[in-house]
Symmetry: C2
Subunit: 766 residues, 2 copies
């Protein structure tokens, strides 16, 4: 008699299922896909920041041997794309920023295509340009889009409570202004697409999109192909981080080239192009004004932000949706007002980027919190704890915190890092030129999607074949975040199998069921719930079938280790494969196929931006310890203590990877990364000049997870995709302040900036 | 108000969905697939027909630059394969026929692999060989497999009634012996496979197999990889006709090469190899003895057959299962006995081939029927009609003819071809050296699979996405027979869409649900029913959802032209895509996914080979009109009238294609095709010497379908895959007899054979 003890995969460290294929080079990225007869596409971008196009001469390019098509706006329907629908794929009349597309070529090799692009002659008439929101708002500023003569495509206004009342209740009011800069995703896999029309007019796209179903819908309008004629296949994606959430001009351009040449066309960016012409994190200027009572209670928070929208409108323009959540609900603020102005400039435009505005918002709020704490002479930890939410609250913005680990995160991060003692000690003054400092910051983010469409759900189809091999066809996409592995874990757990018995199919829109896409940290929660429920249905089916076969009540049975076992004793009664074969071949002649569409219990916000937009929320606290060399200006992040309310750990390795990656990305944002845009031009489009954090700069990272067991989460889990990148930069800035007494209102903390600021502070006697 | 009239796709001529991709060259066959790092496999086959292997020297082959592996039996587990499990992939001790595999190479190109194969030195000791079943049964004949010292791996014995009684009731008894020859499939796509182990030990096979799920199971045992670690992807298949129903040695050999080299390996036959080493239709000698009463009633039928099994046992050995159906049940024969002996020889071995023994059985039965008719001085048509079954009968073998169009086929074929008049006229004698003749023959075949496994079912998963695009994931495979199109028709019909709205996914074992495979003319019936039922569930779901939305009773609604309409008036009420989007985005947040496993109402035969093995049976009558040039021996088939009971026509174009293809194959079998095997060696391994019927030899084909509306068939349909090839050769032989008065007992009717036979008949005064 074999006994199989109850065990669980949940919380175990499971290596990512796709890791071996990635480390062996087996994984096929877009760049590895060759279709028969495939041509190579290349885009001519403008070299002007704002200009009228007078003429485009493609004669020489067309005449080049090996060139199959040269297209300009004239050859396309000209339907504008992007979230703001203000950006035609190819520009016919006018260019508005340095990344604007003017013409495109399909040729037999990338080299020929590049040569053809060089042969295209464009005559321009330069127009006056504007490079800051403030300038763009000035009377008489150049108008960038005629539809918006004031250069303002969007404003957002949110409020709750009564600011005047809040002011009256305040003992102290603090006002700060913060300015955030351009950074970009730096995906290892550059942007690209392959477009292929078959002889029946069906368009297959090999695309890195994060939202295959919405991609079909949105592209359809632009390329004039019905959505049901578009198939989206995702090759292995080399990072996305939000950069692949919108449609960008290169995508329809590649499709137009395929249409023009009746050949498959691959269009892949060079690394330089990736820096010049992929989305950025949006630069924002934020002014915060908050009141506090003597006892440390926040009274009101008033925020106004000014967003540099660049020359066109992509998702970057909508980040205020997320920013306002942090303003209104990261801490209790009885009165809150938030006003945003999104302004066109002739700068590059910005898109979605991990954290989606929340890095900027949290940088401002959590820097500001330290100043408020100081104003009431409270320790930063105590001040935050005093204002932190608790489980069960509904915030004035309508967010329902079914679970809320913020206080536990604050406490644990403080304890693990010895924050209170060190903060006091470092502030008391240090000898020598290298000063130590410690700082903290917390975060609030959606933890299970954000209902910005009428559904935020994900579909699953599950089949188990006759050797107990499970195939899970999920709507959700793997973009490197580890969703495949988590989904396999949920399914394997439910069916008493190992993860290697589960194959996750997630890359073909014709096969997988519908899903919104990868955004808003939703995959573990939404796709996980969907897979879990499909697996649970299969489990029920199997136990129901096993019951009569084993002369047992299905409720007394369990699935463990590939067997049907007695729930109480663990006695293995029947191999699962045998049960499935019996069911299929002998008993009922059936196969085990189930499906599920999981819709999270969230709602769309109302016109006032209120409503429980996510079924759950993620919280976290980071403590950063730094060394500031006051002679060189070098800020070294020594250690980060990262504590996250993750609901429940599903894959220990996966969650650690996400947290480490987010911390590193945040450290880069805080200390090194800067896409230098000068008069609309990107000045450092290479990894030599755009400085990512590399191994030597990565601090020690001490990770802890608070498990609040979300009642709606799959096995209690919340999303963790974005959270770890959000609150690291204010923790660092707060630590630098703790070390030096000097506060930084802008990032990144490059040695030059730090040194200059420390010196001028010294001069001004701060 | 838009009115959409009720219309149907059933019976319409629908071009095959995969036709454009095939005619444009878009379709990717096995030969077109390149995997990164792929090597090329090549097999060394023996040049002996029966020999002991003394030594194999692979030194020189291994030393050749570009060679990655050279393997022999020693490097493999040596588990024997094939239906008889008597055939190890690589032979270590002994070769038994000319196609036997001795060693294999994987190299960087096909050329290097071929050169390496030439460098392998094998020492043999020849053994006495035997090339006919009769010789192999003789006392002291060489023993080919030690497990069968009498050289008989299988016998089959069937009987019903009492032959002695039948003899007593007979007025006339006729006995004939027929001998049938080797032919082979001549698939345009030669045999081949690609094997690829990934870094996690998962084996992906790009295989042309007709039975992906059983292939996994059967291979597993041979290659020692668990079935759940095997994924079978079918590229576009260039014809199969049964040749890809078993596992053949090249398949595990390619896998062993991939294992040895840790690289993907492609092994594709040359055309010569395809002739030398792919399965054949099995040669059979049949002796029929039948009795008839004066009134034309058949009394008994006694049959004994001798099968040349070749050196190993593949599916060819089991064709008696099908042959006996024709003996026992094509016409009413109250008493029947059938005895088969399957005999090993040192000839090539045979496999499954469209018709599966029934071409041989029907050739014999229907030649014999004409002789019986003549014996009682009845017209062949009248004689057949007198003995034909009717709808509703259960034959003594247990076959239940829920529908039976045999009489209608006989009548219609006779009427269309003016058979009775012409037969009489031609027999009366003709002037000149070119004689006209007309002949007829009928057939019985399974029309909806054959339950030779415990299930004969097929699974379907169906999803409809938000633009009313339907994906049908079917277990069934497209091997050129048009199943994709028929499945799309059933689904489109049920959902009121066009076939172009339906995508059929049918090539990946990880995605599609279980299916037995393509055999026994089962796909339209079984996979069709499965798809139809899955679509019906989706239809119900959609109408149930539409009802409340439209304030209507779902039963008063219909789906037509992509809309929900009022059943009675056809008034278009709601676009289907809109309904699905509403259901998904607004109402219930659900997606439309359904699944089905359809098991046909057939049973496995008992030990006496009795039982209703198929849910339905196909019938047909062919009339052939020929011209025999008595000076050259050339038989020209002028016209074939092909009438089939197809249950119901689903795709008019598809069914015509199947019937035309079957007739052409049958004409080839009757008049031209012959795999010449001399002392175990294939003498004509090329299309120059193996003469297929080509365009100039194709007769006029007059097709008619009898629609008996099968109660279990999807929309009333039966399978048509094999039937059209079955009864053409006896119709031709009967026509030649009608023209010349000379009967042929062997095929093919080559000019040499015809001339010689006519001359010797003349000499003997026949």
């Amino acid at each position: 008699m074999t006994i199989i003890e109850k065990s669980t995969l949940i919380g175990k460290p499971i290596p990512k299922l796709d890791a071996p294929s990635k480390v062996t080079g087996e994984a096929r990225y877009l760049q590895d896909i060759e279709l028969p007869g495939m041509l190579h596409g290349k885009i001519l971008r403008t070299d002007r920041v704002h200009a009228r196009i007078l003429s485009i001469d493609t004669t020489a390019a067309k005449a080049l041997r090996g060139v199959h098509a040269v297209i300009t706006a004239e050859d396309t329907p000209g339907v504008p794309l992007g979230h703001g629908r203000d950006n035609p794929p190819l520009k016919g009349d006018r260019v508005r920023c340095i990344r604007d597309e003017v013409a495109a070529v399909a040729a037999e090799s990338e080299e020929i295509a590049a040569e053809a692009v060089r042969l295209i002659k464009v005559e321009y008439e330069d127009l006056p340009a504007v490079f800051s929101p403030a300038d763009a708002l000035k009377e008489g500023a150049p108008v960038i889009h005629d539809a918006h003569p004031n250069n303002i495509p969007f404003t957002f206004n949110y409020d709750h409570g009564d600011i005047a009342k809040g002011e009256r209740e305040s003992d102290t009011i603090v006002e700060d202004t913060f300015r955030l800069h351009f950074v970009t995703h730096c995906c290892m896999g550059v942007s690209g697409i392959i477009a292929n029309f078959d002889s029946q007019g069906m368009l297959t796209l090999y695309s890195q999109t994060q939202m295959p179903f919405l991609f079909k819908r949105d592209l359809s309008r632009i390329i004039e192909v019905p959505p049901e004629k578009i198939r989206v296949i995702q090759p292995v994606i080399g990072g996305a981080f939000g950069s692949k959430l919108d449609i960008y001009p290169f995508e329809p351009i590649c499709i137009f080239l395929a249409k023009a040449t009746r050949r498959p066309v691959r269009l892949v960016y060079t690394r330089e192009e990736e820096f010049l012409a992929s989305p950025t994190r949006q630069p924002v200027e934020l002014t915060l004004r908050s009141g506090v009572r003597k006892d440390g209670t926040l009274t009101f928070r008033e925020v106004s932000t000014l967003h540099d929208n660049g020359g066109h409108t992509s998702w970057g323009a909508t980040t205020p949706f997320v920013m306002m959540q942090t303003f209104s609900s990261l801490y209790r603020a009885e009165h809150c007002r938030y006003q945003t102005t999104v302004v066109y400039t002739n700068n590059p435009y910005s898109g979605a980027f991990r954290g989606y505005g929340n890095l900027q918002a949290t940088f401002a709020v959590e820097s500001h919190m330290d100043k408020l704490a100081a104003a009431v002479e409270m320790n930063p930890f105590e001040f935050r704890l005093h204002n932190a939410q608790e489980c069960g609250e509904t915030t004035p913005q309508g967010m329902i915190f079914q679970t809320c680990g913020l206080r536990d995160c604050l406490q644990l991060a403080t304890d693990k890092s010895d924050f209170v003692r060190k903060h006091k000690e470092y502030a008391a003054g240090q000898q020598g030129p290298v000063k130590r400092g410690i700082g903290m910051a917390s975060l609030l983010h959606v933890g299970g999607g954000a209902k910005i469409y009428h559904t935020d759900g994900c579909g699953t189809i599950l089949k188990i074949d006759d050797y107990a091999k499970v195939t899970v066809m999920t709507g959700s996409s793997e973009i490197g975040q580890g969703s495949e592995t988590v989904i396999a874990q949920f399914v394997a757990e439910e069916l008493g199998l190992g993860v290697s018995q589960v194959e996750v199919i997630n890359n073909d829109s014709e096969i997988r069921p519908w899903d919104v896409g990868v955004h808003a940290s939703r995959t573990t929660f939404v796709a996980g719930n969907s897979a879990l429920r499909a697996a649970r249905k299969a489990r029920q089916k199997l136990l129901q079938a096993a019951g009569p076969k084993l002369d047992a009540n299905p409720e007394d049975l369990d699935l463990r280790g590939g067997h049907v076992v007695r729930e109480d004793t663990g006695e293995a009664l029947l191999e699962l494969g045998k049960l499935i074969r019996a069911l299929h071949f002998r008993d009922k002649h059936e196969i085990v196929v189930t499906s599920e569409y999981y819709e999270p219990p969230s709602v769309m916000q109302d016109k006032e931006f209120k409503g429980n937009v996510s079924p759950t929320y993620a919280f976290g606290t980071h403590v950063a310890e730094v060394e500031v060399d006051t002679q060189t200006g070098i800020v070294r992040v020594v250690k980060v203590t990262a504590v996250h309310d993750v609901g429940r750990v599903i894959n220990k390795l996966g969650i650690e990877g996400q947290i480490e990656g987010g911390v590193v990305m945040g450290v880069g944002y805080a200390t090194r990364e800067n896409l230098v845009v000068d008069a609309g031009r990107v000045m450092n489009p290479s990894f030599r000049d755009y400085k990512l954090v590399t191994a030597p700069e990565i601090p020690e990272i001490d990770i802890a997870c608070v498990e609040t067991m979300d009642p709606y989460g799959p096995a209690g889990a919340k999303g963790i995709g974005e959270a770890p990148s959000i609150c690291i930069s204010p923790a660092i800035v707060n630590a630098v302040h703790n070390a030096t007494g000097v506060r930084f209102y802008e990032l990144p903390l490059t040695p030059e900036k730090v040194l200059r600021t420390l010196q001028s502070a010294q001069e001004s006697g701060e």
